[in-house]
């Protein structure tokens, strides 16, 4: 039961989640840079 509760959702391990969060940050910074270049 506890094992089931602690199971990492979607990814095999929490590392997958950490990479996702950091990758989204990188993508957002990239998008913001493009927005700045386009509109500023």
């Amino acid at each position: 039961m506890n094992d089931q509760k602690d199971k990492v959702p979607v990814f095999k391990s929490w590392t997958g989640w950490y990479i996702l969060v950091l990758a989204v940050l990188a993508v957002l910074i990239g998008l913001f840079y493009l927005l700045t270049k386009t509109f500023a």
């Binding site: 506890n2 509760k5 602690d6 199971k7 990492v8 959702p9 929490w14 989640w17 950490y18 996702l20 969060v21 950091l22 989204v24 940050l25 957002l28 910074i29 913001f32 840079y33 927005l35 700045t36 386009t38 509109f39 500023a40």
Partner: protein, 574 residues
């Protein structure tokens, strides 16, 4: 304000109180009162974390910040995802494994009671005062714009939430925050929709952003570099956001009990982690959206003619002084520039004259110069701060939003304040009971549940007192408290970093390092006021978090070289 707007405000606020009381049923012990019996799923943890961080000022000053300075403020949040990852790896498993009630409880197991008491004291000092000011800050804006009595505005802003916070503890806080944050999103989205649809027919979102960008409002990413190299006093750029913001977020989410208390309510490690990581995913887009509303308000006013100050009451006050004629002359020049600017804006948005960019920038700089002159005039005439950043969005709400939506937006300001204040009161009570009262009484407290309710009530009344006292001290106090956190957060984080990563450092080395670095940080911040220290560089307050935490780590390591090693038990226990 129409009767409909008042009805919306009363229904929303009363609804939240009733809902909070309805959700107040919990077991009558510390686990139930402070941690909701560790029963929360990740999405409630997420909304509670967001509701705690997003205060009324977030929604008032965010759009105003973008109006005045552009989108670059969003970079301030770049450190959050990085901090969420570190907290999930290090802080969450340890706090949950030790089943602590407060973050500082861990320090007594890892170090000793003096280090725990020092850290908890710094938290209570900083959070206690800032909670009072977080009642006062939105109250003063609402009372200035709508003519409300500041005493009663403070009472509603800080008083009514005490009812459900005292009654239901962490459970009532989390459930009400969920409703509050959902309502805030809905209201802000509606405000954004009304804004875009009230622009001229030939101005869509893309053209509006081009116009805002031409006048310097789409500066989302900035490097902080100037002709003379990197500007360390520049508050918002990608480096201060990533590095300074990382340390600030690590300290706020990892060691501030108002946030730690939220994810300790989770069912297990998995739910705590998911709540925090989702916060890392959604926080930056959310802030981007709030700032974007500010850019759209800026564009909106290019077609309507912005006032010289969004704080109407300041204009009235200056008019009642001998500076009245100076104001009239300034107003005339400002209106003339606005008229010229309106013509240039229309030609720009028609697309008929793309060469208008230079002219637009020139006129905008001129208009901003007059707004800056008005601030100086206010200072000379009244001695008050003329900065109207916090008034921009609410002034727009007051003058341009339709009936009903205006009431909803004002209710949302109260809800945002309640969400963060309720979490703060809950955490202040938790730390007072668990870190001070119980240890000082030798852990022989017969009824900690009722004691905790009294502490929550006590901190609530204290916060209202601080808010009422702030009314006498004025606007400058808000700025002082904004930097107060940065004076303490770095040292608090440093203590936790030593606890987590320097297994051989003991309590005495860490305690001594923390005291010395805290004194150093305060001296560094006030260096301009101390003749002997004027040679020190001016540093933006965001960097103080990094300096404070690294200072404690380095100094504790150094002191430990001359002290006996801590017992193996205390190291392995943690």
């Amino acid at each position: 304000m129409t009767a409909t707007d008042w009805l919306v405000i009363v229904v929303v606020l009363l609804g939240i109180i009733v809902y909070g009381l309805y959700k107040s049923r919990t077991t009558k012990n510390l686990d139930g009162y402070f941690l909701s019996n560790r029963s929360m799923p990740w999405y409630l943890v997420l909304l509670s974390i967001m509701g705690t961080q997003a205060s009324a000022i977030t929604f008032l000053s965010g759009p105003g910040q973008a109006y005045a300075d552009g989108m670059r403020f969003v970079q301030n949040y770049f450190g959050i995802p990085l901090a969420m990852v570190v907290i999930c790896i290090t802080f969450v498993p340890l706090f949950n494994r030790l089943r602590v009630y407060t973050a500082y409880e861990f320090l007594s197991r890892r170090f000793d009671n003096k280090t725990r008491l020092l850290t908890s004291f710094l938290f209570l000092l900083q959070r206690g005062v800032s909670t009072g000011v977080s009642i006062y800050a939105p109250s003063i804006i609402l009372s200035a714009l709508f003519g409300w009595d500041i005493f009663w505005t403070n009472m509603v802003m800080g008083g009514l939430l005490i009812i459900y916070t005292v009654s239901g503890g962490a459970r009532a806080v989390a459930y009400t925050q969920t409703i509050q944050i959902v309502m805030i999103f809905i209201a802000m989205a509606l405000a954004g929709y009304v804004l875009v649809s009230s622009l001229p027919p030939n101005v869509g979102l893309g053209r509006a952003l081009h116009l805002g960008g031409t006048m310097g409002r789409m500066n989302v990413i900035t490097s902080g570099r100037t002709a003379h190299g990197f500007d360390w006093n520049d508050r918002y750029n990608i480096w201060s956001g990533l590095i300074g913001g990382f340390f600030l977020s690590l300290s706020y989410f990892g060691t501030d009990q108002s946030q730690v208390g939220r994810y300790l309510t989770a069912q297990n490690n998995r739910e705590s982690r998911l709540g925090l990581l989702m916060n890392g995913l959604v926080k930056i887009p959310m802030q981007f959206f709030i700032l974007m509303i500010g850019v759209l308000v800026f564009v909106f006013y290019q077609f309507r003619g912005a006032p010289i100050s969004f704080n109407d009451s300041l204009v009235t006050q200056v008019q009642a002084t001998p500076y009245r004629d100076s104001l009239q002359g300034l107003q005339h020049r400002f209106d003339s520039v606005n008229t010229l600017k309106l013509g240039a804006v229309q030609r720009f948005t028609d697309g008929s004259d793309d060469k208008m960019k230079g002219e637009l920038r020139r006129l905008n700089t001129q208009a901003e110069g007059y707004r800056s002159d008005f601030n100086k005039l206010v200072k000379a005439a009244t001695g008050k701060d003329g900065n109207d950043t916090n008034y921009v969005f609410l002034s727009y709400v007051k003058h341009y939003l339709p009936v009903g939506l205006k009431g909803l937006l004002i209710a949302v300001i109260f809800l945002a304040a309640w969400g963060s204040i309720a979490a703060a009161l809950n955490s202040l009570a938790a730390s007072s009971v668990v870190d001070f009262h119980q240890p000082l009484r030798g852990n022989k407290v017969s009824d900690p549940y009722h004691l905790s309710r009294w502490y929550t009530l006590g901190w609530g009344l204290f916060s209202i007192l601080v808010a009422q006292f702030s009314t006498r001290l004025g606007q400058s106090l808000i700025e002082a408290v904004n930097v107060l956190g940065s004076l303490f957060y770095g040292v608090i984080l440093g203590i936790f970093l030593v606890a987590f990563y320097l297994k051989r450092a003991g309590g005495t080395a860490t305690f001594t390092a923390a005291i010395i670095v805290e004194i150093g940080i305060v001296l560094l911040f006030f260096n301009e006021k101390i003749p002997l220290l004027r040679w020190l560089p001016d540093i933006s307050f965001l960097w103080l978090n990094a300096i404070g935490s690294l200072g404690v780590v380095l100094l504790a390591t150094f002191f430990q070289l001359f002290l006996p090693k801590p017992p193996i038990e205390s190291v392995s226990q943690s």
